[in-house]
C-alpha cells in the first residue's frame, strides 16, 4: 500500500513537473503565462491519429515504431510551439504580460476549435503501446510498467535539461535572459534565438506529457490538456514565478498531494479531489504569496 503510493506520487508528480517546466521556461524568458500549453498537449495527442469524426481513432503517426514515433511527436510539439511563437507571440513581443496572457488564451481557444473542426468533439479511443499496462511486482507493490517508464523518463529529462541549462551556450543564455532580459541582450544574447529555443523546449515537453497521457488513459480528447495545464500553472505560482527548480519541486509536491488525497479522502469526497487540491494551493499562497522559491526577477524593482 505505502510503496504503491510512493510510485503513484512519483509518476504523477513527474508528469506535473514536466508540464510545469514547460510553462516556467517560457515565463522565464518572456514573462508569458502560456495558456495555450494545454492545447499544445492536445495537438500532440491528436497528431498521433488521422483526422476523422469517427469514435475509433485511426493511427497515423501513432502507427510508427516507438523509436521513430517518440522523436516525431516531440519534434511536432517543438515545431508547433516555435510556429506559435513566430505567428502570435513575436508580434506581441513588447506587449504587457497581461496582453501576452490574453493572447495565449485566444491562441488556445483557436487551436482547440481547430481540433474540434478536424476531429469532431467526441473522445476517441487510442490504443498506443497497450503492453505497458502490465503490472510488475516490486516488493509488496504491483506497479504498472508504464509508471516505472514514466518515472525513469522524467528523471532522464530533468537530468538532461539541468545539464543543458548549466553547461550549454543556449542554456546559459536562457538563464541569463530569465534573470534580466534587457541586460542579457546588451551583452550579446540574441533574443529571437533564446525565445525560439525556450518555445521549442516547452513544446517538446508538452509532447512528452501528451505521450504519457495517451499511454495512461488510452483516449484522445480535445480537452485533455486543460487539467494538467492548470496544475502546471499552480505549480509555477507555488514554486515562485520564473524559478525552474521551484516549478519542478512544486510539480512534484502537487503530484504527491494529489496521490495522497486520492488515497485518503473518503469515497464520497473523492470526485472533489481536484477541488481540494486547488483549495490547498490557495491556502499555501495565503502564507507565502510570493511562492516558495521566488526568483529575483519576479518582483518589480523599485
Amino acid at each position: 500500500m505505502s510503496l504503491q503510493l510512493v510510485f503513484d506520487a512519483l509518476s504523477l508528480g513527474g508528469i506535473y513537473a514536466i508540464a510545469a517546466l514547460g510553462i516556467a521556461l517560457i515565463f522565464g524568458v518572456m514573462k508569458l503565462v502560456n495558456f495555450a500549453h494545454g492545447q499544445f498537449i492536445a495537438c500532440a495527442v491528436f497528431a498521433l491519429i488521422l483526422p476523422t469524426a469517427d469514435a475509433v481513432a485511426v493511427l497515423g503517426l501513432g502507427a510508427l515504431p516507438a523509436v521513430l514515433l517518440i522523436p516525431a511527436i516531440i519534434g511536432f510539439g517543438a515545431g508547433l510551439a516555435v510556429l506559435a511563437e513566430a505567428l502570435v507571440f513575436r508580434p506581441l513581443r513588447h506587449a504587457s504580460p497581461v496582453a501576452l496572457m490574453v493572447g495565449s488564451f485566444a491562441l488556445g481557444v483557436a487551436l482547440q476549435n481547430l481540433l474540434l473542426v478536424l476531429y469532431g468533439g467526441r473522445p476517441k479511443a487510442i490504443s498506443l503501446w497497450p503492453d505497458l499496462g502490465q503490472p510488475v511486482q516490486i516488493g509488496a507493490a504491483q506497479v504498472p510498467l508504464l509508471q516505472l517508464i514514466v518515472i525513469g523518463a522524467v528523471a532522464l529529462i530533468l537530468g538532461a535539461l539541468a545539464l543543458m541549462l548549466k553547461r550549454s551556450r543556449l542554456g546559459l543564455e536562457m538563464r541569463a535572459a530569465a534573470e534580466d532580459f534587457g541586460m542579457a541582450r546588451l551583452l550579446g544574447v540574441r533574443a529571437n534565438r533564446v525565445i525560439s529555443g525556450a518555445f521549442a523546449l516547452s513544446g517538446a515537453l508538452a509532447a512528452v506529457v501528451a505521450l504519457v497521457l495517451v499511454a495512461q488513459t488510452g483516449v484522445a480528447d480535445v480537452r485533455m490538456g486543460g487539467q494538467i495545464m492548470l496544475v502546471a500553472f499552480i505549480a509555477t505560482v507555488v514554486g515562485g514565478m520564473g524559478s525552474l527548480p521551484g516549478a519542478v519541486a512544486a510539480g512534484m509536491a502537487l503530484g504527491a498531494a494529489s496521490a495522497l488525497l486520492q488515497a485518503f479522502l473518503p469515497d464520497a469526497a473523492r470526485p472533489f479531489r481536484d477541488a481540494f487540491l486547488y483549495a490547498l494551493v490557495i491556502l499555501v499562497l495565503l502564507f507565502r504569496p510570493q511562492g516558495i522559491f521566488a526568483s529575483a526577477s519576479a518582483k518589480p524593482r523599485v
Binding site: 506587449a95 491562441l107 481557444v109 481536484d274 490557495i282 499562497l285 510570493q290
Partner: protein
C-alpha cells in the same frame, strides 16, 4: 463659474447616460426592425453587457485579468434556479437540497438579487485569499478558482444535478428585463469608478509603488471591486439561465470566460465605454458568423463557413486587436458629452 474639475465630473456623469441610450437604441432597433431571432440576440447581448460590465468593474479598474468571473455567473445561475424552480421540479432534479431551499418558490427578481448577493459573498471570501497575490499570480489563482467551482458543480450531483442539466427555469428574460439589469450594472460601474475607492484602485493599476507611497491600500480596494463585480456577474449568470431555461456547469466554463475576455479586450479594457462597445461589436460579429455557418445564398450558390469556425475567427480577431490596437477599439477613452454641452456656456480658461 465652474472649475475644470467640476466640468470633468459632469462630463463623466454623462457616460452611463449615453451608454444606456445606446443600449436602448439597440433594443428598439432589434425589436421593431428585426425578426424573433434578432430580439433573442438583443436579450443575449444585453445579458452579456451585464456580465462584462460587472467583469470590467474589477478587471478594468484594477488591471488584473480574472479568469474566475464565469464561476460567479455559474453560482448565480444555480442560486436563482434553487430559489425559483417549482418545488416539485426540485424534488426530482435536485433531491439533495435542504428542506428550506427545496420548498422555496421565490419571485424571479428576488432570485436574481440573491444570486448576485451569494456570488458577491463568495467573491469576498475567495478574493480575500486570491487578491493578496501579485497581478499575474492572482490571474492564475482565479483560474484555479474557476476550475474548482466547475469541479464541485460537476460532481455535487444531489445539489447541482452534476453534469446533467437543470431544466425548467422560468424564461422571463425579455430584452427589456436584460436592459434593466444592464443599465443597473452601468450605473454601479460608473458610480464605483468615480468613487474614492475606484480612483485609488486605478492609481494602483497605473503605478503600484507610487500608489502605495500615497497611502493607498491596494488589497482593500481590489477586494471591494472584486465583490461588487461578482454581484453583477452572479446576476448575469442568473439571467443567462432564465434566458435559455436550461443550465449546466460547462455552460459557465472556458467558453464563457473566453467570450467575456474577448469582448473586454476588443472594446478596450481601459474604459467602461470600451466594455460596452466590445460586447456590441463581438456579439454582432458572432451573430453574423453564426448565420454564415448556417449558409448564405448568393444567387445560385450557397456559401457556408465550416461549423466551429466562428470561435476560431473570434480568437484570431482578438489576437489581431492585441497586436495592432493593444488598447482596444476605444483605447481607454469614454463616450461623453463635450464640455460646452454640460456647462451651457463657454469653457473657462484654465
Amino acid at each position: 463659474m465652474l472649475t475644470s474639475h467640476q466640468i470633468r465630473r459632469r462630463m463623466a456623469a454623462t457616460t452611463p447616460v449615453l451608454l444606456a441610450l445606446l443600449l436602448l437604441a439597440f433594443v428598439l432597433m432589434a425589436v421593431t426592425l428585426g425578426d424573433r431571432a434578432a430580439a433573442r440576440m438583443a436579450s443575449e447581448t444585453l445579458i452579456r453587457v451585464t456580465l462584462v460590465v460587472g467583469f470590467w468593474i474589477f478587471a478594468g479598474n484594477s488591471g488584473v485579468i480574472s479568469f474566475g468571473h464565469a464561476a460567479f455567473a455559474c453560482v448565480g445561475a444555480y442560486v436563482s434556479a434553487w430559489t425559483t424552480l417549482q418545488p416539485g421540479m426540485k424534488a426530482t432534479l435536485l433531491p439533495g437540497l435542504p428542506e428550506a431551499i427545496a420548498d422555496a418558490h421565490w419571485p424571479v427578481l428576488a432570485g436574481a438579487g440573491l444570486a448576485g448577493t451569494i456570488a458577491a459573498a463568495l467573491a469576498l471570501v475567495t478574493g480575500a485569499a486570491i487578491l493578496r497575490l501579485s497581478g499575474i499570480a492572482a490571474s492564475i489563482a482565479t483560474f484555479a478558482f474557476l476550475a474548482m467551482i466547475n469541479t464541485i458543480w460537476s460532481n455535487w450531483t444531489p445539489i447541482t444535478g452534476g453534469t446533467s442539466s437543470v431544466v425548467g427555469l422560468e424564461r422571463y428574460v425579455t430584452p427589456w428585463v436584460a436592459l434593466g439589469w444592464a443599465v443597473a450594472a452601468l450605473i454601479a460601474a460608473s458610480v464605483y469608478g468615480a468613487s474614492a475607492s475606484g480612483l485609488a484602485l486605478r492609481a494602483s493599476r497605473e503605478d503600484e509603488v507610487a500608489a502605495a507611497a500615497s497611502g493607498i491600500d491596494r488589497y482593500r480596494h481590489r477586494l471591494l471591486a472584486f465583490t461588487l463585480s461578482a454581484f453583477f456577474c452572479g446576476v448575469g449568470g442568473a439571467l443567462m439561465g432564465h434566458f435559455i431555461g436550461v443550465i449546466n456547469p460547462d455552460g459557465f466554463y472556458l467558453s464563457l470566460t473566453f467570450l467575456m475576455l474577448a469582448m473586454l479586450v476588443v472594446g478596450g479594457i481601459g474604459s467602461l465605454s470600451g466594455a460596452v462597445i466590445g460586447v456590441l461589436a463581438v456579439s454582432v460579429t458572432v451573430e453574423l458568423l453564426v448565420r454564415l455557418e448556417k449558409g448564405v445564398t448568393f444567387g445560385a450558390t450557397t456559401f457556408a463557413l465550416p461549423p466551429g469556425s466562428q470561435e476560431i475567427l473570434i480568437a484570431i480577431a482578438m489576437i489581431l486587436v492585441l497586436v495592432f490596437r493593444p488598447a482596444g477599439l476605444l483605447a481607454g477613452r469614454e463616450i461623453m458629452l463635450p464640455a460646452r454641452w454640460v456647462t451651457g456656456r463657454s469653457i473657462p480658461k484654465e
